[in-house]
Symmetry: C2
Subunit: 203 residues, 2 copies
Amino acid sequence: MDNLPHLDLLIEAFRHLPGVGQKSAERMAYSVLKMNKDDVLAFSNALEKVTTSIHTCPICGQYTEDEKCNTCSDPTRDHSICVVVSDQKDVLSFSRIENFNGVFHILGGVLSASSGVSIHDLNVDSLFQRIEKEHIEEVIIATNPTIEGETTALYLARLLEKFPVKTTRLGYGLPMGGHLDYADALTLKKALAGRTNMKEEKE
Amino acid sequence: MDNLPHLDLLIEAFRHLPGVGQKSAERMAYSVLKMNKDDVLAFSNALEKVTTSIHTCPICGQYTEDEKCNTCSDPTRDHSICVVVSDQKDVLSFSRIENFNGVFHILGGVLSASSGVSIHDLNVDSLFQRIEKEHIEEVIIATNPTIEGETTALYLARLLEKFPVKTTRLGYGLPMGGHLDYADALTLKKALAGRTNMKEEKE
């Protein structure tokens, strides 16, 4: 009702976040007005700091505040196994599982005819250089199981044929905790194709 | 994976927004990293400005950047009709309908035994003062149709009995665009009780 230009700007800013519509943005902006002032200033400061101090690692493309990211500069990690993902935030999922000790490489997108993303727009050349320089033995392609992610994986796998590396792809199948009656046909087909022997675990 | 303290702070800040869980907060924070730097700084600035420049109107309790809010300082509005709402953002809904030209009063909450909110925690005294000072003729109680909102409305209506004002409550019934088979029993009961004559519209 009132003329609140700063609040309108804030609503507009929230609207640009993923998954936030007009109503949610309004609710968020109004909640900020009820927050402790120090918390809001810390929020504002975090936004500013994130955009000024975080950049991508020149080796793998992950976000970092240092010269190189923690993964690339960590000598205890297994640099011979490299997981290739499309986006920086995909690395977060790997950080949640234990026992994975390899390194990462961020493509920075997926091949997409509709969005006009070609192989030259992805960080593949730097991956090829890393294979030789860091003696990578296995490249695990972990793009999303979508049409574009699949296309990118297949294309990249073909490009990798001329390098002395093993190229693998994450397994497909039923998600843990999922229900069979909710599984779509394609997932079920993939789960069937990827079935494992229960007497003797597949290596 | 990496040690990104500022990003963690930002994720934490997003998590404090209404309706935002860990996953959404991560997605939002990562989207900030892909935004144009100027947009992020504008976002950060809007947050800071909102918390430093917006305060509540001393008359009605709406948010404003000026001394009094636009509604209270607008002589073209009908100051004899006052809509009482529990929260500032409820006023937004009224701003979306045309033809409403009255003023507002923000209670700043609803009566709640579980949260320990009593009538003394709500801005009712200032409403009583306004009734006399601004010659309010009708108070439309527009708290939410929840148990707590209803209790507050009934309690407030009883307190208003000693003032020379007409006290009304927003009508109940089926929401426009809703489906009868999705309507709960209570809503249907209210809709039935509030049925209107189709031959002659109820005044």
